[in-house]
Symmetry: C2
Subunit: 362 residues, 2 copies
DNA sequence: AATTAGCACTCAAAGGTTGAGAGTGCCAAC
DNA sequence: GTTGGCACTCTCAACCTTTGAGTGCTAATT
C-alpha cells in the first residue's frame, strides 16, 4: 500500500473540499471535481486505503470522509500550495497597517483586532516577556506634595508614575533621591531590590517618610511587569460563525480558555517543530497540549516588535481551517508589522519616530 | 381591573420564579410556592388579568406565563426587595478589590474582569472621556539622539514618549524646547494646536529638523486620546452559559455588538431616567436603543474614578436577570472602587499612593 | 492488473404520528 | 370572591418510516 502521487492528489482534493463545505466528502464529489478523470469506484478504493493509513476518518459507515489531524498535517507540510494573496488583499492589509500606524497606537489590542479582522477568525497577539533593567531614573518635582517618577528601561520603553504625597517634601530631597536611585538601582534586576537595600538607601538619603520605599516599589513593579509578557484576544465572537462551534458547550469551552491571559501566554511556549515556513507555525488539533484545543487549530506568525522584542500574532479556529490562506495572511501581516516597528528604518518621515515611543496610553 | 396588592404579590412570585428557572411559570406552581394560600384557579384568573394589562406574556396558549419587559420594569422599580449581600459575598468582593489594589493596576481591563467574575455575567467597564489640557511639559535629555517627553495632564495623569532621532541634537536645544512648550502649549485644548502655532514655535526655537512638530504631534495625540473615553468588555463567554443564548446566532449578534468598543461607549450615554437607586441604572430589553440588545438587559453602576473622572461598571445579560442580586453587587463593587480610587483618603498607608499614579502599563 | 459499472447494504437526517403532560379558560358550585 | 372540575390546546419527546447519500464488494471491461 504505497503512497502514490495519485493518493496525494485525492487527499488534497478531499481536504480542500472539506475546508470549504464542512461536510464529509464523498467519492462521487471527488470524481467529479478533482479533474483526475477517475470514476467514483476508483476513488472509493483509494479512499478506503487512505482511511486505513490514517489520513482520513469516517464519521460513520455510510458517510463521506473527513480529514484526520494526520491528514491535515501532511496537507500543511507537503500538499497545500502557497496561497497567493490577491492584490486587493495585500492592499487591504497595507491600508489597515498604515491606518494603525498613523494613529500611532500599535498596541497589543490593536494588533490583535487587526489580525482578527483580516482573517475572520479569533486572533491573538502576544509579546514575549522582555526582562528589563532600569537604565535611568528621573524624578520630576511638581510641587511640594507632588512629583513624577520616570524610568527609562533597558528595553527602550518608558514608565512613569505620578506621586501625590500626604506631606511636604523639598525639591532638594527629590533631587537627592533621584541621584541616589540612579546610582543604586539602575542596571539591576528585580530580585536585587531587597529590603536590605531599601533600608540602606533610606538611611543614606535621610528619608524618614517612606519615600524611598515608594520609589523602590515602583521600580519593583515596573521590572516585574517587564517579565510578564502580554497577550490579548480579539474577535472571539467569530468562533460562533463556524459550524463546528454551533454547540454552545463547545464554544463556551474554547472561548473561556482563550479569555484567560495565562492560557494565551502558554501558546507562545509551544514547541517549534511545527514550523511550516520561516515565521509561521501551525498546531493542528491534538498537537495542542491544551485539553480545550484538542479539536481546534492554532496558526502563529512571529514578528519583530522592535528593540529585539519578539511578538506573535495568531488565530484560533477549527481544524478545518483554511491553513493556506490564514498562513499567508498572518505572515504578510507579521512582516508588515516588523517593518513598521523596526527600530532603524522609518517608513516615511517622522511617522516612524512617533510609532517608536510607547506607553502612550492605557 | 385594578392593580390590587395581591396582583403585585403574584407578579413578583412569577418573576422570581422565572428568573430562577428560565421556564414559563404556571398557575399551579405559584399556588404552591407563593404562600398566598390561593388555589391555582384563582391565580389563573389573576394571571389572565395581568396578561391583559401587559405585565405578563404567554409564549403559546397552553404554556405558563413569562414576564414582559413592562413586568420587569415594574418589578425593578417597585416590587423587588433589595438583595442583601451575604457576608461571604462582601468579603469576596473586598478581597478581590484589595488584591487588585495591591497589584496596583486598577485599569479598565481589570475592573471589567472583576465585575464579570463577581457577577458571572459579561461585564463592561467604562471611563467617561475626560478632556484634558497639558499642565506641564518636561523633556528629559538622554543622549544626543534621544530624549523623553513627559507631559502632566490636567486630569492628573502622566503620559510619556521616548523619541529616537536620526540626527543629533544638543542638550541646550532640548532645554529650550522644553521652556518653549511649557510657555505655549500648556493649558490649551487640542484644537488650539494649529499648524500656524507650530510654525511660530518652529521659528521661535530655530528648529529646522522637525523637532517641534514631533513634540506638538505628541501633544495632539495625548489630548486627543483624553477625549476618547475607554471601554472594555470582559467575561463575554459567560453569555454562552445562559439558556437564552443557546442559539449561536443570537449569541453571536450580542457578542459582536459588545466587542465593538464604540458600542460600549454608547452605553455610557444612556438616559438617566432608568435609575433605580443612587448609582444604579437598569435598562430592560427594548429600553435599550441598540437593535442587538432588544432582548437583553443592562445594569450599570457608576463609580468615582478619582480626579473627578466618572467611571461605569455594568453587566449585560438576558432580560431574565437577577436584577436584585446584580444591582446589589455592582453597587457594592462600585462603591468599593470609588473608595479605593478616591484622591484624598488612603485606605491604608502607602497603598493609596501607589494606586493613584497611573499609566504604569500597556 | 487496473478500472469501472452495478448492486446490495448502511446509516443519519428529515418528516410524520402519537401520547403524555403541563397549562389554560370557563363554568357551576360553594 | 373563591374553588373544583372539565374540556381544550399546544409543546415536547419518543417512535417510526422514508429518503438519499455514501460505502464496499464483485464481476465485467479495458
Amino acid at each position: 500500500m504505497k503512497f502514490s502521487d495519485r493518493k496525494k492528489r485525492i487527499l488534497t482534493a478531499i481536504i480542500e473540499n472539506y475546508i470549504e463545505s464542512a461536510e464529509p466528502v464523498g467519492s462521487k464529489t471527488i470524481s467529479r471535481t478533482s479533474g483526475l478523470g477517475l470514476s467514483s469506484a476508483t476513488i472509493r478504493n483509494e479512499m478506503a486505503e487512505l482511511t486505513a493509513m490514517g489520513y482520513l476518518e469516517q464519521p460513520h459507515t455510510s458517510a463521506g470522509r473527513v480529514p484526520s489531524p494526520k491528514g491535515y498535517r501532511l496537507y500543511v507540510n507537503e500538499l497545500m500550495r502557497k496561497y497567493k494573496l490577491s492584490l486587493e488583499e495585500m492592499q487591504a492589509i497595507n491600508y489597515s497597517l498604515s491606518q494603525k500606524a498613523h494613529q500611532l497606537d500599535m498596541l497589543m489590542g490593536n494588533i490583535g483586532r487587526l489580525a482578527s479582522q483580516l482573517t475572520n477568525y479569533p486572533a491573538l497577539a502576544l509579546a514575549a516577556p522582555t526582562p528589563a533593567t532600569i537604565q535611568r531614573f528621573d524624578l520630576i518635582y511638581i510641587d511640594s506634595n507632588t512629583f513624577i517618577i520616570v524610568a527609562l528601561l533597558s528595553n527602550n520603553t518608558v514608565k512613569n508614575k505620578l506621586i501625590h504625597l500626604p506631606f511636604s517634601v523639598e525639591q532638594g530631597m527629590v533631587q537627592k533621591l533621584s541621584t541616589l536611585f540612579n546610582v543604586n538601582l539602575t542596571g539591576i534586576t528585580e530580585d536585587k531590590i531587597t529590603n536590605i537595600l531599601i533600608d540602606t538607601l533610606e538611611r543614606a538619603s535621610g528619608d524618614t517618610m517612606g519615600l524611598v520605599s515608594v520609589i523602590a516599589g515602583f521600580a519593583i513593579e515596573v521590572l516585574h511587569k517587564s517579565q510578564a509578557g502580554e497577550a490579548v484576544i480579539a474577535g472571539a465572537p467569530n468562533l460562533l460563525r463556524l459550524p463546528e462551534f454551533r454547540d454552545p458547550e463547545k464554544a463556551h469551552r474554547v472561548m473561556s480558555y482563550l479569555s484567560d491571559i495565562n492560557h494565551l501566554l502558554e501558546l507562545s511556549e509551544l514547541k517549534n517543530e511545527n514550523r511550516i515556513s520561516d515565521n509561521v507555525k501551525v498546531y493542528i488539533g491534538p498537537e495542542n497540549i491544551a485539553e480545550e484545543l484538542q479539536d481546534s487549530s492554532v496558526v502563529l506568525a512571529g514578528y519583530n516588535a522592535g528593540d529585539n522584542m519578539q511578538g506573535l500574532i495568531g488565530v484560533v479556529g477549527p481544524t478545518r481551517m483554511d491553513y493556506s490562506r490564514v498562513a499567508a495572511k498572518l505572515s504578510y501581516i507579521a512582516e508588515g508589522l516588523s517593518l513598521l516597528l523596526a527600530s532603524g528604518e522609518a517608513p516615511r518621515g517622522f511617522d516612524k519616530l512617533m510609532i517608536k515611543g510607547d506607553d502612550i496610553d492605557e
